[in-house]
């Protein structure tokens, strides 16, 4: 079997790596491929790093081939896929930066922290690009609320979003919320963030020059979220309660400090590259920074601030502790940068440097803990085209009988969970902070003005899951068209689209934004 970016294999859908296999997260074939490429067996740390980077969550090995077919360029598009978020030109020297991401598995296990860190992660993706976050949207799906577990998940997710979004001061201006039995105990939790940045301040995440220093800033590293990426890519099974340690724990107050500290630092032109630590923590962020800059990177895990003693290199490299950032800084600016974070009460650890050999080397003091080629963690992640198996179109649901009492029937429709007002949910989200919200949640697309210009942004998330279940292709088309219509109703010109496909689940969500 061929390896490399062009190595596309068609595999049957049944072949899935298990989290219980001897090399968790990797199939036997993938493991063999790694041994072949390295010319040796990977050690434990390396195996953990590879499993995380080759997971669907980080490597998109099952969906990359499909995602490549989507249109990603346009007259306004400044940054398409490949960075932390997309960027679109809205004139006046300003760019809109946006991204949408799911946090389904963590939310299914620990709904409050799962949803909260979903918000935290997406907000970091936006300010990593140098943009100030101006709006959040959430697209949510749950099973019927008359089942206890679903009610627990729903209450936890909504409270988690409110907790994190309200504290960091970014208005939650829109989203969707629907119920269907297919989401029972398996909710969909998607968070979208929109930010604004001056064109010349857009920050990218490619490594700078050889010899540049790289720092981990923000929170200290703990044991939370280890295996988060592989967990998020596996099937949820009966062991979900045992998976709780794979869920990260968020601290929105720290995130707010990190946000302000990073944006202030970018103003001072002290940073060559910035990358947030999300799924697969230090492993993915360092590998991606090195890959984008076509460099190598050396990391001394012994220099990473920890929450508790005794963390192994494996744990440090795979921890998904939240509110951390990776910075690449020229050696002569390191002292300034460290002073800056000290002033904000945040950790800043010099943990390594950029090298020119395209290797990622992990040391614990003098001891070498892992050494892997950067491409093996990034471009060489295998790509699969899963065999499509068309499902028979479900029969149309039977028409309800003619109501005998139209008044009562109307009340039943209006009070149905999928029709009734969502005010009790969105009123727990601060949607007016920043004083730019022109059209609030509950009225189709939200509108947020851009201060200092005569422009406003309309934004929405839309999808009819039943259409997608009946006919995925047309369902997705309808989702895009619905979002565009919602924007058109605000007099907006559709500008860009963030797509989020949730495979294996009868749904595709389209986030749309217009200026």
């Amino acid at each position: 079997m061929s390896s490399g970016a062009s190595g596309i294999a068609t595999v049957a859908s049944e072949e899935r790596p298990s989290i219980h296999s001897p090399h968790p997260g990797l199939s036997d074939q993938e493991y063999a491929q790694i041994v072949d490429r390295l010319g040796r067996e990977p050690n434990g740390v390396e195996l953990g790093m590879l499993a995380a980077m080759w997971s669907e969550h980080c490597g998109y090995k099952n969906s990359r081939a499909l995602l490549r077919r989507l249109p990603t360029t346009g007259p306004r598009v400044v940054q398409g896929p490949g960075e932390n978020a997309g960027a679109v030109d809205i004139g006046d020297g300003l760019l809109v930066v946006l991204k949408m991401e799911s946090h389904n598995h963590p939310s299914a296990v620990e709904p409050f922290e799962g949803a909260a860190t979903g918000v935290g992660g997406i907000v970091r993706d936006i300010f990593t690009m140098g943009a100030r976050p101006i709006a959040l949207l959430d697209s949510l799906r749950f099973g019927p609320l008359d089942q206890g577990r679903n009610r627990y998940l729903f209450d936890g997710v909504v409270a988690g979003i409110a907790h994190y979004g309200n504290c960091i001061g970014v208005p939650t201006v829109g989203g969707e919320l629907y119920f269907d039995s297919s989401y029972s105990e398996n909710p969909l939790v998607n968070a979208m963030c929109v930010g604004i940045v001056a064109r010349e301040r857009l920050t990218r995440a490619g490594a700078g020059a050889t010899g540049d220093v790289f720092l981990v800033v923000g929170a200290a590293t703990g044991r939370d979220g280890i295996h988060g990426a592989t967990f998020a890519s596996a099937e949820l099974d009966d062991t979900r309660e045992e998976r709780r340690p794979a869920v990260q724990v968020g601290n929105p107050f720290l995130e707010k400090l990190l946000l302000e500290a990073c944006l202030e630092l970018l103003e001072a032109d002290a940073v060559r590259a910035m990358q947030d630590l999300g799924a697969a923590g230090l492993t993915s962020s360092s590998a991606e920074v090195a890959a984008r800059g076509d460099r190598g990177i050396t990391i001394d895990v012994g220099r990473v601030s920890r929450r508790e003693p005794g963390l192994t290199p494996y744990e440090v490299m795979l921890s998904e502790s939240q509110e951390r950032m990776l910075l690449v800084v020229a050696p002569d600016r390191v002292a300034d940068v460290r002073r800056h974070f000290e002033r904000w009460g945040l950790h800043s650890d010099v943990v390594g440097e950029i090298t020119d050999d395209r290797l990622i080397r992990v040391c614990d003091g003098q001891e070498l803990a892992a050494s892997l080629p950067v491409p093996l963690l990034t471009d060489e992640v295998p790509m699969y085209v899963r065999e499509g198996r068309p499902r028979p179109t479900p029969p149309p649901p039977p028409l309800p009988p003619e109501p005998t009492d139209p008044g009562r029937a109307l009340l039943r429709v209006l009070s149905a969970p999928n029709v009734c007002s969502r005010a009790t949910v969105f009123q727990t989200y601060d949607h007016t902070v920043q004083a730019n919200t022109v059209v609030e949640p509950g009225f189709g697309a939200a509108v947020v003005r851009v201060r200092g210009t005569r422009k406003a942004l309309a934004m929405t998330t839309d999808c009819n899951a039943r259409y997608c279940a009946a006919d995925p292709r047309r369902g997705a088309q309808i989702a895009v068209a619905e979002a565009a219509r919602n924007l058109a109703c605000r007099g907006a010109e559709p500008g860009c689209r963030d797509r989020l496909l949730e495979l294996r689940q009868p749904r595709a969500a389209g986030g749309l934004l217009a200026a």
């Binding site: 001061g169 707010k256 009123q427 601060d430 949607h431 004083a435 730019n436 919200t437 022109v438």
Partner: protein, 260 residues
């Protein structure tokens, strides 16, 4: 006793000392300090409304600042100072700037708390009572009506009696509480400046979004120079944001200086 003469006195001194700004409103130009604690998140829009909407001088001032001598009015903005850990305002009250704010308030100059700023001021003892978690237990972001109970503070001077304002709220710990005898005293002294009410101006329990005692939405100290409210006037000061009723507090403040 609420005495808004204070404002005039301050104003006279300030106007003699400060050069008038090029951008003026109602003939007055004040110098505001918007205090930012770690975790504050409304300082930018508060600053924007003061400068861009009302043409005033305003500076964003760190929680570590100890010298507020150059200002006419200190604003403690909304947000989650120190993450609202322990209780809203419980940690912020120990910030160095609070000593300076206390001194500032003691010398009869103006202190204005909005939302989290209200919570900080009660924690710091600059306003009576305490803030509890909302009845119902969750954060509430909504539009409410408030009735102006007292036009005798510099923040409400000139607003017609019983005027009903439509303002946005966004808080999780906004349930004002004081013991019954304290509430009676506040009523007697006219310190309750703003009350939640329905659209007709009636302070009913249904119109109370957080369970605050006596529907208190806004409060001043005995001198009338320290004022705080849970609603966000800075989010309701421009036509496209759904209400301009928040302007009234800013306008009253500037008016109180202009007449002096």
């Amino acid at each position: 006793m609420v005495s808004f003469l204070i404002a005039g006195r301050v104003c006279g001194r300030r106007r003699a000392a400060a050069a008038p700004s090029s951008r003026t409103f109602s003939g007055a130009c004040l110098r505001f300090a918007v205090v930012v604690f770690p975790g504050s998140n409304c300082e930018r829009e508060t600053h924007y409304v003061l400068t861009d909407v009302f043409g005033q001088d305003a500076a964003i001032v760190s929680h570590e600042e100890t010298d507020l001598a150059g200002y006419d009015c200190i604003v403690l903005p909304g947000g989650f100072a120190h993450g609202d850990h322990l209780r809203a305002g419980a940690i912020a009250r120990f910030a160095p700037v609070i000593r300076a704010v206390e001194h500032f308030a003691r010398t009869d100059r103006l202190v204005w708390g909005i939302c989290n700023g209200f919570q900080v001021l009660t924690e710091a003892g600059l306003l009576p009572g305490a803030m509890l978690p909302n009845v119902g237990g969750s954060f509430v972001c909504d539009w409410v009506h408030c009735r102006v109970e007292s036009a005798r503070t510099p923040f409400t001077v000139g607003i017609e009696p019983d005027r009903v304002l439509r303002l946005p709220i966004a808080h999780g710990e906004g349930r004002f509480y004081a013991p019954p005898d304290e509430v009676a005293r506040l009523e007697r002294r006219g310190q309750i400046v703003l009350r939640y009410c329905n659209a007709y101006g009636e302070p009913t329990p249904e119109a109370n979004p957080n369970g605050a005692v006596a529907n208190v939405a806004g409060l001043c100290n005995e001198g009338g120079n320290v004022f705080a409210l849970m609603p966000h006037p800075e989010r309701a000061s421009e036509s496209e944001l759904g209400s301009q009723d928040g302007r009234m507090f800013f306008e009253a403040l500037l008016r109180s200086y202009a007449v002096a």
